[in-house]
Symmetry: C2
Subunit: 388 residues, 2 copies
């Protein structure tokens, strides 16, 4: 391993991974991925023995098992930011025992090459950025790990779009991956997901500030379309029971949605909540990336070119655990059951019970932490067996 290429623990760096040729045949030259790495030295915490079956703490970084964490659609490589309860010293993703890597995806907007990046001609890629698949993202990540000189990862872990990449890792590079945990995901996009996701793409495209995807040099951005997409997306990420408990039919403070005339400034509380989420995403996320990654989710299908979905899963050789959320409407529980029945080397199914829906893997820290610990012990045992 070229440990000298790693950023300091908890920080990030850009890694050049060379050209990436997409599944559909387009070359993206000189791809960069922004990588975060976590590998703290052992601390003197006296409560440290609670994970004693795991890998030895405090090893030099090149001797540590590698965990590759795959972020979701609007996540990024900054794992400690979006999964703070899971990662750190003595947390489930224990930074004193593992070398933990998390990279922003190909097509993203958090430091990796995407539609908003600079094309070799000096302008933004914009509409010239190709359609990419989940597999193309994995292709770029494999090139990243090769660049780092990493020859094996103990486990790949991801939820939602990260779960889709996790499944593709097991099918594209089975010898490279010791074990996998796919969370809140399916073997392929469902028609219902494609319907929702393609609608979101259209909201962005319908915004006149989109300029066909080439808005970067115009000084405008399709914030309104992004907001519309995010409101709908967020409604599929959350459970209706949880939202109803929080907001019910309450009006937004100081507004009256029951007045004599309907008005866009007379909102229900849930509208104010969705507006806040929409406003946050408009600022922090590039519309071109949102469209590109959403399209990649539409293209997700482990069966493409592999004789169909179940044939592909059956040939999977990587021990894989599956988890999901009971109230998820975007990736309903039956999809996780489907994976569990068809994966070639299935090692367990865990359910997060929560009213929150799909986002349960981000919200239910205690349950998610238990699932990660259970999985990581399995992965460690599998790793020991493999090392003989």
């Amino acid at each position: 391993m070229h440990a000298d290429l790693l950023p300091a623990s908890g920080s990030s760096t850009h890694i050049s991974v060379g050209d990436v040729v997409t599944e559909a045949g387009v070359t993206i030259p000189d791809v960069q991925l922004k990588l975060f790495a976590y590998y703290d030295a052992t601390s003197a915490d006296p409560n440290y023995a609670d994970f004693s079956e795991g890998p030895e703490p405090g090893l030099d970084v090149q001797d540590r098992p590698v965990l590759l964490i795959e972020h979701a659609l609007t996540g990024d490589g900054n794992l400690a930011d979006w999964w703070p309860e899971m990662v750190g010293p003595h947390k489930p993703l224990d930074t004193t025992r593992y070398l933990i890597l998390c990279a922003n995806v190909l097509g993203g907007c958090s430091g990796s090459t995407g539609p908003g990046s600079t094309h070799p001609d000096g302008k933004a890629w914009g509409s010239r950025f190709p359609g990419i698949s989940i597999r193309d993202m994995v292709t770029a990540e494999k090139a990243l790990l090769d660049t780092l000189g990493i020859t094996h990862v103990q486990a790949v872990i991801g939820a939602s779009m990260g779960g889709a990449r996790t499944l593709e890792w097991t099918l594209m590079h089975p010898d490279y991956v010791g074990a996998a945990l796919a969370i809140a995901v399916s073997a392929r996009a469902s028609a219902w997901q494609i319907g929702l996701q393609s609608s979101q793409i259209r909201f962005v495209e319908a915004d006149p500030h989109w300029h066909g995807g080439d808005y970067y040099e115009t000084g405008e951005s399709p914030a309104e379309g992004m907001g519309q997409a995010r409101r709908i997306a967020h409604l599929t990420y959350r459970g209706e029971l949880e939202m109803d408990e929080r907001f019910g039919v309450d009006p937004q403070r100081g507004e009256d949605p029951y007045g004599p005339y309907r008005g866009s400034k007379q909102r229900f509380a849930v509208e104010g909540y969705l507006d806040r989420h929409a406003d946050k995403l408009k600022v922090r996320f590039d519309a071109g990336s949102y469209v590109t990654l959403t399209d990649a989710l539409n293209r997700h299908d482990v069966g493409r070119g592999r004789g169909g979905m179940n044939a592909a899963l059956a040939r999977s050789e990587v021990p894989t655990m599956v988890a999901g959320v009971d109230t998820d409407i975007l990736y309903p529980w039956h999809q996780q059951e489907h994976l569990s029945r068809n994966l070639g080397d299935f090692i367990g199914l865990s359910q997060i019970t929560s009213p929150t829906g799909h986002d349960g893997f981000l919200i239910e820290g205690r349950q998610m932490g238990q699932i990660l610990q259970k999985f990581l012990l399995k992965a460690e045992h599998i790793g020991r067996d493999a090392r003989g």
Copy 2:
């Protein structure tokens, strides 16, 4: 009853019901509702005895029990058009035994007064049309029945937005209604529904052809925004299992959503399906009515001004049956269970089992027919008991 005011059986007429004052205090002058009526003479069908516990067939219209059917959001008074398996001679809504009435709602666009109707000043109401509630629709319908000289209805039956009106009928006019069947509806809008519905309103409002609701004289109409709203709405009306069985990840015929570059003309089959539904609605439904009725669904709350939702249901004096669809995500089954636990005079709960989701009440004709027959026998017995 003023039978002379009724249209011929199977046809429609406009009825003037006078001014309607909305719950929020706005007067809509000279409201008209478009009414369909069904009251066939007895036919000579020899298979006719299968409903022998029901009301006597072939009575003169003024002697028949009245059934009031309440249509859903984009339905209308033309009951035989949207519920063809349910209504007709010897069908569950037996046109030889009942006088069956179905009127387009206040705010609608199928012949009743709504935003697209002519204001007293000669231009369209447009943005001047007030916000209306489910209760305001019932107010107009009660004025319609009063105009017809009808003093009692044997049953009110409705699904979805029609179910919301059905519940309000039982609370606003308990002495007038013999029994009620509320299908695929809840006691009030949920936060999740409001989130989805308010998003749909915004799609229409964001279309530059909306012109603040006053597009009627511009020669333009917000068809694009309506299409966006319809695509999302349709995804909440259908079950993901059924959609996935039909479309999966298939491409639209002749298009390639897996190509090197994403393109709006390279669609999945499910996108083509949603586009067809969007295109149909754009043509047949007025955007102003869509916004007004969607807003009315947001305002649906049987508890408003009645001491809360469960207190209102507990005081209900009309024998009420509840039905729903097991896979409905828009009005989930737990909402029908909630009604069944809280209604003051609850007479039964029936479940349509179907992969189709909310639209099951339109699609699963055999199951829906059985529920109607079961309910109508209950209503007939209740009516006989009341008549002594």
